[in-house]
């Protein structure tokens, strides 16, 4: 019986089908390879969500325990810079989507240009984030030995600032990784490696970039906005 199975497979395997240069040997069709990549990328993104989930767990617990410290801490943050960053990042999400779209329709120039715009917006975000960190450094609000904070909840505000640096630092690290990834994809697009049949790398880096944007969509209200009004009320 095993021979029969092998023989049958033999006949099936032999008919020649034009191999697309990007089709890897262990996939049957480009469609199967594409779906495998999309599924793999989404599972990777889910895992990244759990990665930020651990830090958010600490954030939510201490917010319930030390609400006053969270109010003081979040009022320390500069909401204008945070707001601009949000607009910049959602903008870069738009340009990323347009880059993927132009890869779909096969316009090489469109893909490369939109990718460059996305990278520039990413850079703007990182620069603004650098100024925010520098501002913290000037007020020596960097958690650690020389953390100075007047006000009754100094210790607990240090936890807030630690979580702020943890969350936004990790997010900025993912932005840097995304920046490098996009530059590689832009270079491949420039070398005309993509076509309407095969633009998976662009699509995958798009998924990654949108994920990084979604993380910021949650970080911005949680860190900057939610405890803003307590001081007003």
């Amino acid at each position: 019986m095993p021979e029969a199975v092998a023989a049958h497979a033999e006949a099936h395997g032999h008919h020649a089908h034009a191999h697309h240069p990007a089709l890897q040997h262990h996939f049957e069709t480009l469609e199967q390879q594409k779906e495998a990549s999309v599924l793999g990328m989404w599972i990777f993104i889910i895992q990244e969500v759990m990665f930020f989930g651990g830090l958010l767990m600490a954030y939510f617990l201490y917010r319930v325990w030390y609400h006053e410290a969270w109010v003081e801490g979040s009022n320390e943050l500069d909401i204008v810079l945070g707001g601009i960053n949000t607009v910049v990042l959602i903008g870069s999400s738009l340009t990323m989507a347009l880059a993927v779209r132009s890869a779909q329709v096969g316009s090489k120039k469109g893909t490369v240009n939109w990718l460059i715009v996305t990278m520039v917006l990413g850079l703007v975000f990182l620069v603004i984030k650098f100024f925010e960190y520098k501002h913290k450094y000037d007020l020596n609000h960097i958690p650690g030995a020389n953390f100075v904070f007047e006000g009754p909840h100094a210790g607990q505000v240090q936890i807030f600032i630690s979580l702020y640096f943890g969350l936004t630092g990790l997010h900025a690290l993912h932005m840097v990784i995304g920046f490098v990834l996009l530059s590689v994809i832009a270079w491949m697009a420039h070398k005309d490696r993509f076509s309407p049949e095969w633009y998976t790398p662009v699509e995958m880096s798009g998924l990654y970039w949108h994920f990084v944007d979604i993380v910021w969509i949650f970080l911005f209200p949680l860190l900057y906005l939610v405890d803003r009004t307590h001081r007003l009320g």
């Binding site: 019986m1 092998a6 040997h25 767990m57 607990q156």
Partner: protein
């Protein structure tokens, strides 16, 4: 029946040279690369265990200093948990056998498969480096505030090492999940899949979704220790119990990463050597998935005395009892599979007998620790040590050895000596019980874990345990010899030495680089011994 000869072209001999191994994208070679590193880690962990047992033969601390002893049991824990138990079956046997079982040429992302091996090796180098430069003494659980403020050993380096190794486990999980979803042979529906594939699928859930949480937790400890961040620091108002919540959120599902794949191997081996399809196939398959999903909801039974509220302790105790049921269902189904089967007493089956004996004790002693009233007395005593060794070493390592001896002919094309195999299974079983059963008694007497010095009246049990450990060591070293001997002098095994069902036994052994000559088509059920005449090649 002519004696089989080694096939001309196999994945081992179609390319030679170190580079062909170090840059391979072939899932079979990557499985063997993992086996090399895991075996080294297993020997390392074993040496540390020998050091611990040596010290505990005497109540006083006269062989090692307290610090050295603390480092020994910590490094034993880290080497065994992160570098042996978690990768053993999924990364070695899983990598090798999964594509063969589903009729694919390779895993979905071969390049990422190689990257995850390199990430594993880099993590291993970091952790061994930490061990060489003075070791780490926080216990494999890295509990805060000791690990973040009070310990002056290489906690940072080990934390980073384990952080990196975590990504290897994540990438393997992603790879397996996509492979099983997208690359099954035509006709291979979900309910025709071998049960090892179901187990690997359930394990990849835990690998992918649990590991990042321990990665971020260790990242926070590294931040707190290195840069003075205050997330868990009680002086600033941080809560050390939060660390335990986040740590065990992964580390309990991690024990299911360690036990589910060996359970899959046991289902395969029992089906083959009972010449019968597994009893209640879909129940065994769904119990794997149930264990993986329920496994995420039970972690705080490690925290019953750590200061969590009694009401939440009740919630977790109830859920811990619920997660024990699928394991019980699996064990009963294995026993029922052997009913009216044709039991072939070969080495893999001996390891399965050992597995069933030890895993039963291990699993059922879990019910003692999930019982709230008892856990107050038993937490952090040798009862817990005995419980998890019965499941990890009795279950996971026994399952790994069963799989190793079952797939060895397929991996190398050679057969090992059956008598020596059975002898090593017996030695491991006897040595194991002699080592860890006295620890149950010690545990109920109240001997705490991680003690360098203990009261004199308990010396007898510790001496028994150390004696058992030496028998166990011999049992583990023996396979090293006869398996390597079989590489050169073993008789040629042929495509299907055990006459088993499954696609992996239809191709030659050792398999072709691209696994199958063509694209195999599957028409029959999973373990259908009736449709095909058995040909013992």
């Amino acid at each position: 029946m002519m004696t089989p000869t080694l096939p001309p072209v196999t994945y081992l001999n179609h390319k030679y040279g170190v580079m062909s191994w170090l840059l391979t994208k072939d899932h079979k070679r990557i499985g063997i690369l993992y086996m090399v590193v895991v075996t080294i880690a297993f020997v390392l962990g074993g040496v540390f265990a020998a050091g611990v047992r040596l010290e505990l033969t005497t109540p006083q601390g006269d062989i090692w200093s307290a610090d050295t002893y603390n480092k020994l049991f910590t490094m034993h824990g880290i080497a065994m948990v992160f570098f042996v138990l978690i990768p053993a079956v999924p990364a070695i046997l899983g990598n090798f056998v999964l594509p063969l079982m589903i009729g694919a040429k390779d895993v979905a992302f071969p390049k990422i498969n190689l990257i995850s091996w390199y990430v594993f090796v880099v993590g291993f180098i970091f952790t061994v480096g930490a061990m060489v430069f003075g070791g780490v003494d926080t216990g494999w659980t890295f509990y805060v505030p000791y690990s973040s403020s009070a310990s002056n050993t290489n906690v940072l380096m080990t934390g980073i090492g384990v952080f990196i190794t975590g990504f290897s486990s994540i990438l393997t999980g992603v790879n397996f999940m996509v492979t099983i979803h997208r690359m099954r042979a035509p006709g291979l529906t979900w309910f025709r899949l071998p049960l090892l594939v179901w187990a690997l699928y359930a394990t990849s859930f835990v690998q992918v979704l649990g590991t990042p949480v321990v990665a971020i937790t260790l990242f926070m400890v590294v931040l707190e220790r290195g840069l003075g961040f205050g997330i868990f620091n009680p002086a600033l108002g941080g809560d050390p119990v939060l660390f335990q919540h986040l740590f065990w959120f992964y580390s309990h599902p991690a024990v299911y990463i360690m036990i589910l794949p060996p359970m899959g191997i046991i289902s395969e081996v029992i089906a083959c050597f009972s010449r019968k399809s597994v009893f209640g196939y879909s129940f065994v398959a769904f119990s794997s998935v149930a264990i993986a999903l329920f496994g995420f909801m039970v972690w705080a039974h490690h925290l019953f005395v750590a200061g969590i509220s009694p009401y939440s302790a009740m919630v977790f105790s109830l859920l811990s009892y619920a997660v024990a049921i699928p394991s019980a269902v699996k064990t009963f189904n294995w026993a029922a599979t052997m009913h009216r089967g044709a039991i072939w007493w070969k080495t893999p089956m001996f390891f399965v007998f050992g597995f069933i004996g030890l895993f039963l004790v291990g699993g059922l002693t879990g019910l003692f620790l999930a019982a709230l009233g008892l856990d107050v007395h038993l937490h952090d005593t040798y009862f817990v040590v005995a419980h998890f060794h019965y499941i990890m070493v009795g279950g996971a390592i026994m399952g790994y050895f069963a799989g190793l001896h079952y797939y060895w002919p397929k991996m190398t094309g050679r057969m090992y000596s059956d008598i020596l195999g059975k002898l090593s299974a017996l030695l491991i079983f006897v040595g194991f019980n002699l080592t860890f059963f006295p620890q149950f008694i010690l545990g109920y007497l109240g001997m705490p874990r991680r003690y360098h010095v203990y009261p004199d009246e308990w010396q007898v049990f510790n001496v028994l345990s150390s004696a058992g450990a030496s028998v166990l060591a011999v049992g583990y070293v023996l396979p090293l010899f006869y398996l390597i001997y079989s590489l050169f002098k073993g008789e040629v095994a042929g495509a299907n030495p055990w006459g088993a069902t499954g696609l992996e036994w239809t191709t030659q052994s050792p398999p072709l680089p691209e696994n199958f000559p063509g694209q195999p088509i599957v028409e029959e059920e999973a373990y259908d011994y009736h449709k095909r005449e058995i040909k013992v090649a």
